[in-house]
């Protein structure tokens, strides 16, 4: 049975809770990824921050990003004010504390189920709570296409 260690991307790119949101936005853009693990000073995973968290940090909580038309309700001064606030905000203000982390010996089928159920594109992989990589949905898909199953 395929395990996470068979499809892990051994990349430790991460941010901390004190990273400014604008730096996260730049990092996600430079890397072309949609979310990234949040770690503490011991490299232990404490959460996750995604593009979605960044966008919802700019728009009022009641605005659903699935419906971008409602952005029109905000006038320019509201947007500028919000952007200034977000510019000073840190990861800890908007991160998700549920990282959905998996271990290297987690069966690939369990990760696939987790990603599908929660609509996740990337999940962190930990060993003794420390970040050792990520699983990407594309890697799962590749294995399925190559081998037909996780067995």
């Amino acid at each position: 049975m395929k395990k996470v260690r068979d499809l892990i991307t051994r990349d430790l790119t991460s941010v901390t809770e004190d990273t400014p949101l604008k730096d996260v936005a730049e990092l996600l853009s430079l890397r072309g990824i949609n979310g990234i693990p949040v770690v503490n000073k011991n490299n232990e995973v404490t959460g996750w921050i995604s593009e979605r968290d960044l966008i919802s940090s700019i728009f009022p909580e009641k605005v659903k990003i699935e419906n971008p038309d409602v952005i029109g309700f905000m006038n320019l001064s509201q947007v500028v004010k919000k952007l200034t606030q977000v510019g000073q905000a840190m990861v800890k203000d908007y991160m998700s504390k549920t990282a959905n982390a998996v271990k290297e010996d987690t069966p690939a089928s369990d990760v696939a189920e987790l990603m599908l159920q929660k609509d996740l594109k990337r999940v962190p992989v930990v060993r003794d709570k420390k970040l050792v990589g990520v699983v990407e949905r594309a890697s799962l898909a590749r294995i399925l296409l190559e081998e037909g199953s996780f067995e």
Partner: protein, 311 residues
């Protein structure tokens, strides 16, 4: 886990052509492209030899996903800070008729302070799992060797062993007041250190003694193609291994260092570690990439290494 640091990584291009026509047109018959920079080379070699290794440094530009993927395919874990600038491109030109090998390197672009701060924070987090840190290569424009000294001091604080694989002028600034496990001076440009000729046997001993007197535990000095002197306060070893005619020297010195580190951490034996390093170097010299072909080949070649205790 071992962490390697490359603050000024490069895309290495090896161009193979019969001969180069300076001032005229030359076409490479084949090209190899790969991630490069001293720390990167050491990371690749360590991964081939079976070590768990994390490569960190500063990376930027459109080719970065390819750069990182190539490292991860070898088994290297990546942990780079992304910057909004392009990394260097280095060219290694091999003229196959004469086997003349020329290296042209870029200097690298200036790095904003905020990226250096992010790098340092990330480095300190990596130290929490590291048993050894290797820092190698040149520095981007505007970054002082004192920055490396800060990294060394951070590692010292966490009691993580440090290996410096740097030119003499960087070492001079980094060494005072730090605890160093190993120093491998990069003498490719000057062929001398402290004004002493590296090709003179007596001078090599003097250089190693000066470094040991500064508190370094192990000194590793390269002279010639694959000739080495390694020394501690207690003993000194000399070693060499013959190369094939068409050997490719890119990354060979870093492969020797990786092989030496790998075996020394396992056996704590200077002579055995030197042999192993030379085997790894010879295997890298047979490879078109900047690391050994395989662990198996490196271990076969170590039998050809001639090492002897000289002090």
């Amino acid at each position: 886990m071992i962490v390697t640091v490359t603050l000024n990584p490069a895309f290495d291009h090896i161009l193979f052509l019969p001969e180069i026509h300076l001032g005229s047109f030359s076409r490479a018959q084949s090209t190899t492209r790969m991630p490069g920079g001293k720390g990167i080379n050491v990371a690749c070699s360590l991964a081939v030899l079976g070590e768990e290794v994390v490569a960190t440094g500063l990376l930027g530009g459109q080719g970065c996903p390819t750069f990182e993927r190539a490292l991860r395919n070898l088994g290297v874990t990546t942990s780079f800070i992304y910057v909004n600038q392009e990394i260097r491109t280095d060219f290694f030109i091999i003229e196959e008729k004469s086997n003349r090998q020329s290296l042209m390197v870029e200097e690298g672009t200036p790095i904003e302070l905020r990226y250096l701060n992010s790098f340092k924070d990330n480095f300190e987090r990596l130290l929490t799992s590291a048993r050894l840190v290797e820092i190698g290569g040149s520095l981007p424009k505007g970054v002082s060797p004192n920055f490396i000294k800060e990294l060394v001091l951070a590692a010292n604080k966490k009691k993580v062993k440090v290996v410096l694989n740097l030119p003499e002028n960087y070492l001079e600034e980094c060494m005072p007041g730090t605890a160093l496990f190993m120093v491998a001076p990069d003498l490719r440009e000057n062929k001398s250190m402290y004004g002493l000729d590296i090709y003179d046997a007596g001078a090599r001993i003097k250089i190693s003694r000066k470094l040991l007197d500064l508190g370094v535990e192990i000194v590793i000095l390269k002279y010639g193609n694959l000739n080495y002197l390694v020394a501690t306060r207690e003993e000194t070893w000399d070693g060499e291994i013959d190369l094939e005619d068409k050997s490719i020297m890119i990354g060979v010195r870093d492969a020797v260092l990786a092989g030496f580190i790998h075996k020394y951490l396992e056996k704590l034996n200077l002579g055995e570690a030197l042999k192993y390093g030379l085997g790894a170097g010879r295997s890298a010299a047979r490879n078109r990439m900047n690391y050994p072909n395989s662990k198996k080949e490196a271990e076969e070649f170590l039998m050809m290494a001639k090492v002897r205790k000289v002090g």
